[in-house]
Amino acid sequence: MSAIEIRNLSYQYPTGSEEVLHNLNLTIESGKFYALAGVNGGGKTTLCNVIRGFIPHFFKGERTGKVLIEGKDVQDWDPSDLAQKVGFVFQNPFTQISGVKETVFDEIAFGLENLGVEVDVIRQRVQDIIGLLGIGYIQDKNPNELSGGQKQRVALASIIVMEPDILIFDEPTSQLDPQGTEEIFRVIDIMKKKGKTIILVEHKIELIAEYADYVIVLQDGEIKKQGRTEEVLADEATQDFGLGLTQYTLLDLAMRKQHMHTERIPITEGDSVSVMKQWMEFQGVKA
């Protein structure tokens, strides 16, 4: 079943002089994990804004084509229904945090309060998310006193606590160290296992390779390439659209140039280990 259908979508910002999205066609399947990748300025965040309905509900401008969620165009959805259907974790956590709540706990509860959820239920759900993200140690702190990385975790918590069917993450780990980044991906993976549809904007290609089902490459407002992650990321030509490949794939491609052919091009660490072991065995090298 498709979660989102995009047909012939084009868009121009009200103050812009040219289109930032050109005639996009895209089907997002329910329960799958999609990575939006490509150079900055390619239209990734704009596309997220369209799916979340910020375009045209908040940013006006000229949008043509269709963006259907459950068969209804996002511009015809009631904004508060759409907000419950599609969660959006912003690139900049400073934008997400409301600034009106005095503790992290209350900040995370804010969205549920607005929906009129019962207090006991709110408490339980907020507590669960805090546990999941390991942020209990800051739950009584003022959100404004947090570090960039901590704010990013709180922003994420405040969205996933609402349990929307579709979750959009715009570079959710840009402020985090490698360990923090892995924790966030673990949480996103849990959301996927719960059946959520995930759309992620990310530059860390090794993590896309590890977690995403599909990759969509945007450049100059056009979809240059889309397909299963292992197809898109094992293809040398993907680099022509400004997307870097994983170190594992680049190693394999460099080996091929030296006439050291492996059986197939790996994209992840695990994949690379088994491909390399096989190659070494064939060469008579003991691993």
Partner: protein, 275 residues
């Protein structure tokens, strides 16, 4: 005596929180150094003391013979430029050009020198075509290059980059490498905080590892990325290719793809000879 020195430096925030404890490090002119470590390890607090934004609670920071305790931030900022982690903390002008002009103008450079520095910085950072644009209309990635250009235009001996790779695509990360290389060749000292280990491998030789408010290792990247004890203490991971090499039990300590290929060639030709 080194050009820039931190001698047994401790920094304690006014609320009593100790962010850096008894840290010593020194830098020569024309050196490029990466500082790595977890969020909260004390990296940003340490570098902010290097340009006088904050003064150590204990110990001394000496820059080109000047103890930062005896000088104002404005005086020290002639020696050391600092590019903030979040570009929105740094940008406040209406055009990219006036933003970049601000630093050298404040330092009292001649109009001619200001123009020259601005153009040079804009060219190096690849933002010449945006000079008349309002910085807030630029995407995050380009804003970061505006802030880097603003600091380059001040022509300080030392430039500190705080997480320049965050949120950048692979092309921009490549450009950052080119910028660092050009500045080092001019004799400038570049100190960079980053979480991107591939970026470190590709652009730096010396790496300082911080963990729990202290320096746990200050050495060549080869020593750092193959010291599993230190990496574990600092919650860091080996670069991808090093990890692969480690998992495959290859005897050499590789850091990047080229080294890996050499090792593979060597081991497989050794096998052929024995056969």
């Amino acid at each position: 005596m080194s050009y820039l020195m931190l001698n047994n430096v401790t920094y304690c925030y006014p609320n009593g929180f100790k962010a850096v404890e008894n840290v010593s490090m020194s830098f020569e002119k024309g050196e490029s150094v990466a500082i790595v470590g977890q969020n909260g390890a004390g990296k940003t607090t340490t570098v902010k003391m290097m340009n006088g934004l904050t003064k150590p609670t204990e110990g001394d920071v000496i820059i080109d013979g000047l103890n930062t305790k005896d000088y104002t931030t404005a005086q020290i900022s002639r020696k050391v430029g600092y590019v903030f982690q979040n570009p929105d903390d740094q940008i406040f002008h209406e055009t990219v050009k006036s933003e970049i002009r601000f630093g050298p103008k404040n330092l009292g450079f001649s109009e001619e020198k200001i123009e020259e520095n601005v153009m040079k910085a804009a060219e190096l950072t690849g933002i010449v075509q945006f000079l008349d644009v309002h910085p807030y209309n630029l995407p995050y990635s380009l804003k970061k290059f505006v802030t880097i250009a603003s600091v380059i235009a001040m022509d300080t001996d030392t430039i500190i980059l705080d997480e320049p790779t965050a949120g950048q695509d692979s092309q921009a990360i490549g450009r950052l490498g080119v910028i660092i290389d050009a500045l080092v060749r001019e004799g400038k000292t570049i100190i960079t905080i980053t979480h991107d280990m591939e970026f470190v491998v590709n652009n730096f030789e010396r790496v300082i590892v911080m963990a729990n408010k202290r320096v746990v290792l200050d050495s060549h990247k080869q020593d750092v990325f193959w010291n599993h004890g230190v990496l574990e203490e600092a919650m860091l991971k080996q670069p991808h290719i090093s990890r692969l090499c480690h998992t495959l039990n290859l005897s050499d300590k590789v850091l990047d793809i080229n080294q890996m290929i050499d090792v593979l060639k060597k081991t497989s030709s050794m096998v052929k000879v024995t056969l």
